[in-house]
Amino acid sequence: MTATASTTPVLKHPLDDLIRTDRIPHIWCTGCGTGTVFSACLNAMKSSGIDLQKTCMVSGIGCSGRAAGYVNLDSFHTTHGRAIPFATGLKLGNPELNVIVFSGDGDLFAIGGNHFIHAARRNIDMTVICVNNLTYGMTGGQVAATTPYKAKTTTTPMGNPETPFNLPLLAWASGATFVARWTMLHIRELMDCIQTAILKSGFSFIEVLAPCPTNYGRRNKEKGLESLKLYQDRTIIRNNADPADLDIDFQKGVVLGEFVNRERPTCIESYDRTCRPKG
């Protein structure tokens, strides 16, 4: 075989067209799970066949909130906790847009918790992907609304006295039409799941467990690789599980899968039917 242009190795990642390569290297630490979730999301966006020119990513603030800055699409990096209400305006302002919110547990469920439940209740047609690393990684590892009971963080040096949210239960109770949980280790399932969520009309929510060895793991005697072992050994795939049984407890085993997939008119469908003049 002779060396021609066609056989010259091209060092191009298959997702390069979806990444702002001029912004690489990214900020994520060694062992962080966010990048894996991000690439699963990009793969799912591609394989879903949606019009990417009409697709926007919206993030809040935090480590995973930086995803919007790396995706080579219309992308919005908003204020802390406000990705969902911003995305609500974006979607209602132009219903043709596909809107994906990619952010973290602190952003979406502490400061932004109120916005999450209301967007789910309204059934805004968007996909919300929450990278849950159990902590505030960007600010150095403080307690989050998702931090396990007794876990150590910089603001719970004696252990977390509070109980964390069960995020799929919250999403289900708030009215989300698609609810799932995976870990960043379950990459195939995660990609398929994100694709399903993107193509699903209505408010879709996927929680993705991802390690933060730098700011959570090291204070809780859990190395990055050990987190992955937990994801492999201490998880149970149980689709359609009762959302009430989805507390995160690796001692008992953490349930993964697709828990909710139901039909409900979207916010826009309902608004058009209820509020627009007939005829």
């Binding site: 990096h77 204020t79 406000r82 209400p85 305006g89 209602l92 302002g93 916005h115 003049p277």
Partner: protein, 382 residues
């Protein structure tokens, strides 16, 4: 089904006039949250927007309302929200995002007396400095203040035009009295209303830089979904919209987004002068207090006192040049406002000691009467 522009003569409240002004300006998205005395604007938009092809949503709080209008603005819509003091405080976070990301939108504050919950149903003008400096960091803002229902209609259109032209959130500082008072409002024919739309990008999409400014300092703005692959962030950013954490990038960005306002002061600032030519005393006022002051001015003139009125239609940027020029030849300014001295401080700053500066102020809950102003004029005139 009514058209977007209700051409004709109406009897309506200031709040309704504001909503009709927004529709006439092309506003097709409103994200709101109920609050006295601004609720009627949201109610009117909820009824009217769906019939003109727009969308109304009542969000879960004012933080979300403000975020939603930014999102919808990037979807290509002209957008508005309305609120009063407590909600205005909550909106400050995303007003800052709107400034940093140069997102056109209109924020209406129908002021009531504060601080905190204050006097919810009673008017005040206590948020003047909050409009100027309420969000963190250094920035420039545009704020207008109407003195009548008609002016509330007119200024809402102006607010949209300025926000589109300069890509900045524009604030309307109305007050409870103007919001709730019913009076005559004349709505012109649609073709007689001058509308401005945000500058649009031209040329190759792959070479487009989302924050590369044109000559007036304002960058063209595409809509999401047009294929420009824009990145928009509240972090300090460069012309590509990319975050850059350097002193130089901060200086360049903040200088540009402030200078696009300050360099165009002449285009933005509107004032109305009455009988200032020969005046010894000039009243400086705005909003409902501007009407009080006009009555007081006429009463003083009838008594032979040379009193004029400078009514501020634009609050921010402040009418510095006008005050400086007047300070050269008048004996005194009397600022009339329903607070204990906010714009008064601006008048003092610009008078630079060349004319005496007095205040007729009130902490809020009622209007300042012409008699209050006249009494002060008599004291100062001695």
């Amino acid at each position: 089904m009514k058209p977007a522009v209700l051409t004709g003569v109406h009897y309506m409240t200031g709040d309704e006039a504001c909503a009709e002004g927004a529709l006439a300006a092309g506003c097709r998205f409103f994200g709101g949250y109920p609050i006295t005395p601004a609720t009627e604007i949201a109610e009117h938009m909820a009824e009217r927007l769906p019939e003109v092809g727009g969308t109304f949503i009542q969000m879960e709080d004012e933080i979300a309302a403000m975020a939603s209008i930014l999102g919808a603005a990037w979807a290509g819509q002209k957008t508005m929200t309305s609120t009063s003091g407590p909600g205005f405080s909550l909106m400050m976070e995303n007003i800052g995002l709107g400034i940093c990301t140069e997102t056109p939108c209109v924020v209406v504050n129908v002021q009531r007396a504060g601080p905190s919950t204050g006097l919810p149903t009673m008017g005040a003008q206590g948020d003047m400095m909050q409009a100027r400096w309420g969000s963190h960091g250094h920035y420039e803002i545009i704020a207008l203040s109407p003195s009548s229902a008609q002016e509330f209609f007119d200024q809402t259109i102006t607010a949209f035009n300025l926000s589109e032209k300069y890509r900045v959130p524009v604030i309307i500082l109305a007050d409870e009295v103007i919001g709730h008072m019913s009076e005559k409002v004349v709505i012109p024919r649609a073709e007689d209303i001058k509308l401005v739309s945000r500058p649009r990008p031209k040329g190759r999409k792959d070479r487009f830089r989302v924050y590369q400014p044109a000559e007036n300092g304002v960058a063209p703005m595409p809509d999401a979904g047009e294929g420009y692959k824009i990145h928009v962030t509240g972090l300090t950013h460069d012309e590509r919209g990319y975050p850059v954490m350097t002193v130089e990038a901060q200086a360049e960005m903040v200088t540009r987004i402030t200078r696009k306002i300050t360099d165009n002061r002449g285009d933005i600032i509107m004032t109305e002068s009455s009988m200032v030519e020969d005046a010894d005393i000039v009243l400086v006022s705005y909003g409902i207090s501007g009407r009080t002051s006009l009555a007081a001015m006429h009463q003083a003139r009838a008594m032979g006192m040379k009193v004029g009125l400078l009514r501020l239609l634009t609050i921010w940027p402040f009418a510095e040049e006008q005050i400086r020029a007047l300070a050269e030849r008048v004996k005194a300014f009397i600022t009339v406002e329903i607070n204990l001295g906010q714009m008064h401080l601006e008048v003092m700053r610009c008078a630079e000691g060349r004319a005496a500066c007095h205040l007729v102020g009130h902490p809020g809950g009622t209007v300042i009467t012409p008699e209050d102003v006249l009494a002060r004029i008599k004291e100062v005139y001695k």
